[in-house]
Amino acid sequence: MVPITPIHYLILAAALFTLGTIGVLTRRNVVIVLMSIELILNAVNLNLVAFSRMWGLQGQVFAIFVITDAAAEAAVGLGILIAFFRNKETVNVDEVDLLKW
């Protein structure tokens, strides 16, 4: 078998990033859009940790900061979702048009 090189990890991260982007751009359910954003952040984390295999621990520290950001983003995003659901009784992104001119 071919030994696993850093390129393998980068390609896996690119595939996960692509999946997350497809989810963000195509789904209508806000909850699943937020989950796709988590997929994207995880792809970034995988890149950081894979590079930290070569450059030392800084990548792992950055991955922890990215996880912190993901927690903050999920809390605020889901809070916005609850406020929105209370006003319009829907969870579809294409019905979010209050700011549309």
């Binding site: 497809i22 789904r27 520290v61």
Partner: protein, 172 residues
């Protein structure tokens, strides 16, 4: 200790992560998506272990799979998803979006496999990562070199908590 059967575990875990990632973005029921996302996160935690990052793997399991996904499941229970499940799941521009994103993915793979600079960078020998004192070293970095960023992250979390409460409260 030398790693054992690295290619086998890499392909197993990455296949698991990709298949459950596809399930996340295709399921109709958000609860099924959330469960598939938990599987993706656990597979990625395994890959972090293979990359000598046990602390990040533990944080991934405790904070992501244990904390953030519980938050998601609570919100799914709070909002009424029954009506959304009976509606169309994909929006009108889905074909264009998938085509553009797959194009972006192809660009990524082309850059990774043919870039001279990246090939030179990746030829570097692997770093000597501490196997037994990883958590200790990460802690020293967090409280030493990245002290300011660590404090700013705590401020960010405080603002996020206040923001989430303000947003979700009926009347302030």
């Amino acid at each position: 200790m030398a790693p054992v059967a690295t290619p086998f575990f890499f392909y197993l875990l990455s296949g698991l992560a990709l298949i459950s990632g596809i399930l996340v973005i295709t399921r109709r029921n958000p609860v099924h998506s959330a469960l598939a996302l938990i599987l993706t996160l656990l597979a990625l935690a395994g890959i972090y272990l293979m990359l000598y990052a046990p602390f990040v793997a533990g944080v991934q399991i405790i904070l992501y799979a244990g904390g953030i996904m519980v938050l998601f499941l609570f919100v799914i229970m709070l909002v009424n998803v029954g009506r959304a499940e009976k509606e169309r799941q994909f929006n009108k521009q889905w074909l264009l979006a998938i085509a553009a994103t797959v194009g972006l993915g192809i660009v990524f793979v082309r850059v990774f496999t043919s870039s001279q600079t990246l090939t030179e960078l990746l030829k570097r020998p692997l770093a000597q990562l501490p196997e037994t004192s990883n958590t200790q070293q990460v802690g020293f970095s967090l409280y030493g070199q990245y002290m300011l960023a660590f404090e700013i992250a705590s401020l960010l979390l405080l603002v996020a908590i206040v923001g989430a409460v303000v947003m979700a409260k009926k009347r302030i």
